[in-house]
Symmetry: C3
């Protein structure tokens, strides 16, 4: 049967002859250059090699997309029985048509080459060095390499990639880093990112089931349009027990998920977290005994550089580190690499936050990218952010109630009542700004500031005297029917509950502060850094 195929073209009136000799004036007089890799092909070159058929379209003449395990190119022939997935030897001349290369197939025959080996080889990242010196990162390198390899393989195989990331500045920079690097890699090897790369923000600080359902629905659509089942990458979310429901669901439906997060997984035993049974690869500094200071934007940026060795965007990890208040030398290194000031980079982070507040669940395609290209845009948003904070502080500061509880400066305010609704910044950010002011006025004292909505308290502290997790534990014990929930760490967190119990909960927290007996233990308290 294969024989017949070659014969077909020789002995016949040239069924696809009208595709062969389109006078391509620019190149027709040059001798054809023989090129071994598809990515290096130029108009007029001659190619001969082993490829896998990635796509086949009709009607009209057959247009294949063929890949040599790295680059892809359109290959055209009048007709052919070869199908998607076949590995074949082809040869032909390449012509440029409307800015797109097209190989006009002269011969095709089956190949016995093990194409998986080629893929495996090309998947290994070509760049394995980080952009900065960092012991933290070096400790995590094996994770980076494995994950970069897996993502590169997905790109090489045209497997769609779905990126889900937390919707704060750190999560967004992480999302951009993976999106940008994959996109550049795809463009390099001839895959159209429009149909192979998706990025969506998660409003919740975990990969909640509603987002998971949406991702399954999108995947079903892709599969209906004959795409592969996507690879899902979760960034700045995904490591904690709250993520289990979503990841377990995806696992039960046969999805492969990769998690890159820096939040405390809470549960870790023998380097295994609560989500590890449901994900294929998981990078989190806590697993290797580190902490959240190496933020998601840093991790994802370094990963992006390994996904595609030509990818660079030095501002991303710097903005992430500043926005997430990472007080480690890595942050300074990243800032240095940008050639910009910390102040300017901080404005980009604030601009991201402002955009995210306004576009809600939209991925902001192309919009965040403008912050990295256009300083005027950054300045306009910064001015608006500054005014926004001033307005909200003007409304709230006069109504903040502050008291001294056994040496601890405790303040609280009803954010629903005293903030301007539907206006940036949102209540959570407002309480942060209020806290910073009170803390600055009381540098030598522990300052705890809470803002409440009807069913939530936002907590900020200047010293680690009362961790949020401990508060929540005690509230759950004392007020079981309040169904207290939430999370956070020593300095910040959120506590959710059934609204009926608001007053009791605030009183309970005050009592918990009293029970710390800060003044009594103040010697210790003051020695704490």
């Amino acid at each position: 049967m294969e024989k017949r195929r070659n014969n077909r073209f020789e002995g016949r009136s040239g069924g696809f002859s009208n595709f062969e000799k389109r006078g391509n004036w620019k190149s027709s007089s040059m001798p054809n250059r023989a090129v071994a890799n598809i990515v290096e092909l130029k108009d007029g070159d001659y190619y001969s090699g082993t490829v896998k058929i990635m796509k086949k379209s009709q009607p009209g003449p057959v247009i294949f997309v063929v890949s040599d395990g790295y680059g892809s190119v359109d290959a055209v022939i009048k007709d052919s029985d070869y199908e998607v997935g076949d590995v074949i030897e082809i040869s032909g001349t390449v012509n440029e048509r409307a800015g797109r290369l097209q190989l006009e197939i002269e011969s095709m025959r089956p190949s016995k080459k093990d194409f998986n080996l080629v893929l495996e080889e090309n998947s290994a990242p070509k760049r394995t060095q980080f952009s900065i010196k960092s012991e933290r990162l070096e400790k995590l390198k094996p994770y980076f390499i494995k994950i970069a390899k897996r993502i590169r393989k997905a790109v090489l195989e045209s497997q769609p990639i779905l990126i889900r990331h937390h919707a704060d500045s750190d999560g967004i920079t992480a999302g951009l880093a993976i999106e940008q690097s994959c996109k550049k890699f795809m463009e390099k090897i001839g895959v159209n990112p429009e149909y192979a790369l998706y990025r969506s923000p998660s409003k919740a600080p975990f990969y909640e089931i509603a987002d998971v359902f949406r991702d399954i629905i999108l995947s079903n659509r892709l599969i209906e349009f004959k795409q592969k089942k996507p690879l899902i990458i979760v960034l700045d979310n995904g490591s904690t027990p709250e993520d289990v429901l979503g990841l377990k669901t995806l696992h039960s439906l046969g999805f492969e998920v990769i998690v890159v997060d820096h939040h405390n997984p809470v549960v870790i035993e023998n380097k295994k977290t609560a989500v590890d049974a449901y994900v294929s690869l998981h990078l989190n500094p806590y697993i290797e005994g580190l902490d959240s200071q190496t933020c998601a934007g840093m991790l994802a940026y370094e990963l992006g550089r390994m996904i595609f060795e030509e990818y660079e965007n030095s501002k991303l990890p710097a903005v992430a580190g500043i926005s997430d208040l990472c007080r480690i030398p890595e942050t300074d290194e990243y800032i240095k690499n940008t050639g910009k000031t910390k102040e300017f980079l901080a404005k980009i982070g604030k601009g991201m936050d402002f955009i995210a507040y306004n576009i809600k669940f939209d991925s902001g395609k192309g919009l965040y990218d403008e912050l990295f290209k256009n300083e005027k845009f950054v300045a306009i948003l910064d001015e608006e952010v500054t005014t926004g904070f001033e307005t909200q502080l003007q409304s709230t500061m006069p109504y903040l109630r502050t008291q001294d509880i056994d040496g601890v400066i405790f303040s609280y305010i009803d954010l629903e009542k005293y903030t301007v609704r539907f206006k940036y910044p949102a209540p959570g950010k407002v309480i942060g700004a209020i806290h910073d002011i009170i803390a600055l006025q009381n540098e030598n004292r522990p300052v705890i500031t809470i803002g409440h909505l009807s069913d939530m308290i936002i907590f900020r502290a200047s010293k680690a005297i009362l961790p949020v997790q401990k508060i929540i534990k005690k509230l759950r014990k004392d007020l079981p029917s309040a169904n207290v929930d939430g999370g956070g760490h020593e300095m910040a967190g959120a506590i959710k509950f059934v609204s009926a119990h608001l007053t009791d909960i605030i009183e309970n927290i005050k009592q918990q502060i009293k029970d710390v007996k800060y003044l009594e233990n103040s010697q210790e308290g003051k020695e704490e850094k």
Copy 2:
């Protein structure tokens, strides 16, 4: 080589010779099989018959989609003046190209055949037996046959179909039954469901005007893309006076709507309901003197089986019947047909409800279907549903106020204050679970449980001593400016009102319960089933 090309075409009359002679190796050596029906065509067959042109696309060669009144196939020719809607005699050989059949037209001439007769004939359902024995269903059979015929005709004519269904488990199973059967029928006859079949949930328990507007907008888009005006099918909604505004609007704009519902139409005179002037076909058991126990999921499933005679999905009507608490022998028959336990099927229904809560207005394309294929997925969601109910009961039960009103156990609770917000299950489901607990504790007494939000009361009763419609009527009389609205029956319902009157309304309902004088009439009360 160029010379050769000219030769090829010079000797022939046909400019599209390059479409005729594509050596199709698989079949070229076999004698061509002559086939009479398009649906039975295989690679290499020869077809000759009367067809209608459904679609014509260019540029490049003309590609028609032609239908013999049942199956459709692509038919290609270099050029042609025939247009969409023309009925013609064609002949040619069929070849498979990239998994798709294509008829290469050899001859075309006008036909005088009455194509509508062919369509009419093929529209008649091929299967007219129900999947179970049921007197109820038999009584409704003429409705089923008419509606199945109309929908089959729409499919055969490539008229787009828009399915709107209530967003609870019964409505969703109904939607899936019609979607799945139409899809399979379309695939059988060669219509692409991607552009011809749409399904959307209605959040309201009726076909509200906002959904109607959205459907008109979608239809306008389809028409702009040269599709026919869609046929709209309303499931588990559509029979009541609340549906009149929407259906009247669609009617005024020339839309054809079919309603399949099992809710009490309230208004019925001489088998005519309030909506009948605006819909083309209406199936509702009440019209034939039956009740809501034959739920929408059952009706739509049996309809689906008549739309396409090869369609089966026995779990659908069983899940619907269990979810809608249909206590008729049909439910048991459906359960038996699945080979699954009632407990397992109930979990699918709860999983649907959980998904619907999370994806809101999305149709959940492909997602609900997973519940019928993947038991692990069902189990994961069931665990989450169970935990959700436990959490909400823990928050609410301690604050439920229960009193004995003349022998009636009356309980009420503020659901806004005592439930966890934005967490499954929603308040309506929570009050149901609370009521079930109280009812179980007081099996010999009538139990009435109400949960209120600021402008709504959800009502549940264990005995039919005070119908919701009666409560609403009295409230309207006593508190006219509260603008009381809502609906339901003896055992369950919802009452909406202007929030200012909440307290008065609760007191009024208590008084209405007192007025029942249950103890006095208790002999009667106890004899009631």
Copy 3:
């Protein structure tokens, strides 16, 4: 001529011979007509002239879209190195294929013609007279001509157009006028409006940053699909200081924006408003010393008629004028032109408002247009609107508190508490209806009516005794931490604030009314019209 075609290719290597011989039976026997303008081409005509390449697509044969600076047509050739943007001389015969004309290129060579001159010439509006006599409009004519020219140029160059308009009846009619005229113009010259014309409503009464971000995201998508950066047109919004943030942002990103608005720009110095530095063209009657009575729907309609000289839809400006209560002779002129009664046209306006309420952020593509075509549809919606108002008045009127403050009839009501939620009409419309009733009962007295939500007051007055801007100014001074904001004029407005201060604000407004000393100044008061 058919012969010519064959000759043409016979002498050549005939690469695209399969395009030559499509027997085009209808026209093949007619002599070819030579036509000079692309828009006048018909099947079988011969064209020869200078064109610019607007689009080039492959694979398969090259299909260009070429424009002679006015009309566009598909032009096909086997292969070509000419690219988008090239200006060339072409010739060839036109054939109709599936209802679409296609020029089969016989010759192509570079042209030295200054194509911009052609464009410039064709951009000048062909119609420059208004549809009614109006001194107001005449005063603004230079603005109309410049803006019409700019939009015509965008259409001629296939630059996408994004229309943003306020979401009330005036703004929607304005949006429709520009959308409809551009669409008809595009269809005339062969541009596909599906990819070149977008319309979206703004819910806010200004071009808020969230909408701006969405428009940037859409533009980025268009650019990714190789379209030009869109031209943005803002209607019935865009002139005020609140619009600065959005317009400044767009300007910093290189967008061109045109504003057509009739709201008071507040800031005007030497005919320059706060937004003029950021927009390319700005039409607002205030700039020329006029007022808001020439509403956006009128302005946009007259503009639309200049964008495309064949465009008419006389109901649009009439509906806009009635809905926006424009008491100028122009409104009567527009009504007269429709041949319809004011009552009927008012119903269209109310129907628009009802639709906008229900479809929220959707553009309502095709839906609003139905109101202008289908009187039955108008009647159905009008009935629903009437019932809606009756219901809301029934809930609210009994609870309206009215008092006489020094001769001023002052009424207020809590709209959250006393209106039916999520039901048309929304609180703002309800307070308007309430005010109209009270004003009618007190025709000789100034009537002020306010309705409040938790963080907003809606203000209506029957006499201009206390402008909203003045109220806001005083509130800001007296209650700085309430962060009072809002806008409006002497008779109507909205005041937003931090919810904690609601009671103080109402008391303050009462005091301000007392301070007017209406009775004392009543002589003056009564002389005011």
